[in-house]
Amino acid sequence: MHLLVCGGTGCRASESDAILENLQSTLAENNLDGEVQVVKTGCFGFCEKGPIVKVMPDNTFYTQVKPEDAKEIVAEHVIKGRKVNRLLYLDPENKEHVADSKHMGFYKKQIRIALRNCGFINPENIDEYISRDGYEALAKCITNMKPQEVIDEIKASGLRGRGGAGFPTGLKWEIASKNAADQKYVVCNADEGDPGAFMDRSVLEGDPHSVIEAMAICGYCMGATKGLVYIRAEYPLAIERLKIAIDQSREYGLLGEDILGTGFAFDLELRYGAGAFVCGEETALIHSMEGLRGEPTVKPPFPAEKGYLGKPSNVNNVETFANIPVIINKGAKWFASLGTEKSKGTKVFALAGKINNVGLIEVPMGTTLREIIFEIGGGIKDGKKFKAVQTGGPSGGCLTEKHLDTPIDYDNLIASGSMMGSGGMIVMDEDDCMVSIAKYYLDFTVEESCGKCTPCRVGNKRLYEILDKITQGNGTMEDIDKLRNLSNVIRDTSLCGLGQTSPNPVLSTLDNFYDEYLAHIKDHKCPAGQCKALMQYVINQEACVGCTACARVCPVNAISGERKKPHTIDTAICIKCGACYEKCKFDAIFIN
């Protein structure tokens, strides 16, 4: 028998270490330590009800266990084989105790569709993909279904583009299928560029065949015989695995001429991007593939009409493709049963930032931020306070405490002033300055703007300068108006999605954290203590013993005072390097 004790950060904060010790000592007292083992595990993703103790092999799941409960668990469960009812999870709906974690459906918040094979199969072995229903969807489509039937199925599933904008995938395919041409192209957008996002890389590295299969299905639907994967050169492992996968599919005859004897032909090639963020925009991506500068052009014409080399092309994101085979195999109805009214299925998120369980997760649409951050994500690092979560990368915005219980889908995120984006989720705590965060994203946009249209090229630079001025403590109230006006102009007049969404971080922080802007401008203070220019190191005259350690370490001789008497810092000379703060052994120096 095994007793598993959660060793996740959240549970450890509520004394799971003491539970572990008590269990061990109680077992030893009863001479059971040879037969029953106590083991520390990672986070169960159910921190709200922690600490958690799970008994194996019967899968009993005890919640909110206290150190003093250890005796009862050993005496009752281990020795007498009776479950300790009062510690079992109480189902909030039917008020019944749930004994077996396998029946705790609501506890398992995640469902893996796009990530179904990641971490299960060897991505470099096509056989393992085939043994998990691989290429069955393609076979089903090209032998038993008409292209329009496949398109109807995708439309019925309600799948929307996972790259961020959320355009209905089935509709996109239908439009591309109706434009007649001698040659058409299926394009996979693997130019993942949001800071902190790694969903697409993981899919390509863990399950490249699912993307290949889906692209072939798309080719069949729209009448294209060629597929292109536009992937960034910074993803060498994903490229290598994709190449191996393409070669294996060709060997098996699942790519190439006359696939499965149906006469349908489809093949794939790779195109490498040099890591320009704007090339994730589909027209810029197509130009880059053509060997031209990666700059967007006005839509229409849409790629479905005039895309790669002027031919009808359909561009979808990696995760969108990864969903396709499952929709065909399990049916549109099944897929549409997951998610919310207008956003179906699941979404993969890359959880990063000040969160305990940094990781890749896949949850049904409609899951709340609270469930993602505090249950799956295990809460905020070091027990700090949650402040905001940034979704949608440089095009998105910040969501705050008041949004924690909003079900996440395309429309709700837009209504909250952010966007789905490709799925990066960066969690911030009380130590993050929201003006600096907005500045960070603008810095990124200024760097990544292609420079073709003026609002984006010049406007974003000006936005950045104003934000910088505010973080230096030189902002004025007029600057806030300027930020808003300029943001609106950039949003309304930029050529492509990059510029149209680049002011979002500014607008959403202005909406949600207006007080912080005010504190910077009016009080010349940074509430989070991040903006260096607004900090002041001060010596507490009562705590200072005059050891002179700070004065000796100060690189600009800003600290003066007699030996054994309180010292002072000349703020006019101080460069805020923090050396004195770290050196002081008496905690006499503080940041104002």
């Binding site: 083991v39 520390k40 990672g42 506890y107 569709i113 098996y252 990781g359």
Partner: protein, 132 residues
């Protein structure tokens, strides 16, 4: 390699593969073959998964344990990389996190040889599509 020529072909290959994978488990020493999957996405490799994989292949051989060690993609537990999944026949697969070479050694000695669980187990917290 024989080409897949029809849907029936694909289905045949699939069932052959499944029984072959089954066979791998039920080969000469059915009770002994251990399966280990190492999460080898960029993040896993960066935190040392490759060394762990090499170590496990070598050590299983040296210690005379019948085992298959394969690579797989990201399991999603970035905070606990490198991660591995160990399946001892007759038991449910178990995922271990924070696996360095020392930990890999402990897992072989304690879990694989004696069935004793060791610290660092990552509880499965998601549903697969098969169960849906």
């Amino acid at each position: 390699m024989v080409k897949v020529k029809s849907l029936a072909d694909l289905k045949k290959i699939k069932s052959e593969l499944q029984s072959k994978l089954d066979l791998r488990e039920k080969s000469e020493h059915p009770e002994k073959i251990v399966q280990v999957k190492v999460a080898m996405a960029t993040c896993g490799i960066a935190s040392g998964a490759k060394q762990v994989m090499d170590f496990m292949i070598e050590e299983f051989e040296k210690r005379g344990i019948d085992a298959v060690v394969t690579q797989t993609g990201c399991m999603g537990y970035c905070y606990a990389e490198p991660t591995i999944e160990v399946t001892v026949p007759g038991k449910e697969p178990i995922v271990f996190g924070y696996v360095n070479i020392q930990k890999a050694d402990t897992i072989i000695e304690k879990y694989v040889k004696n069935g004793e669980l060791v610290d660092g187990i990552i509880p499965v917290n998601y549903e697969t599509i098969e169960k849906q």
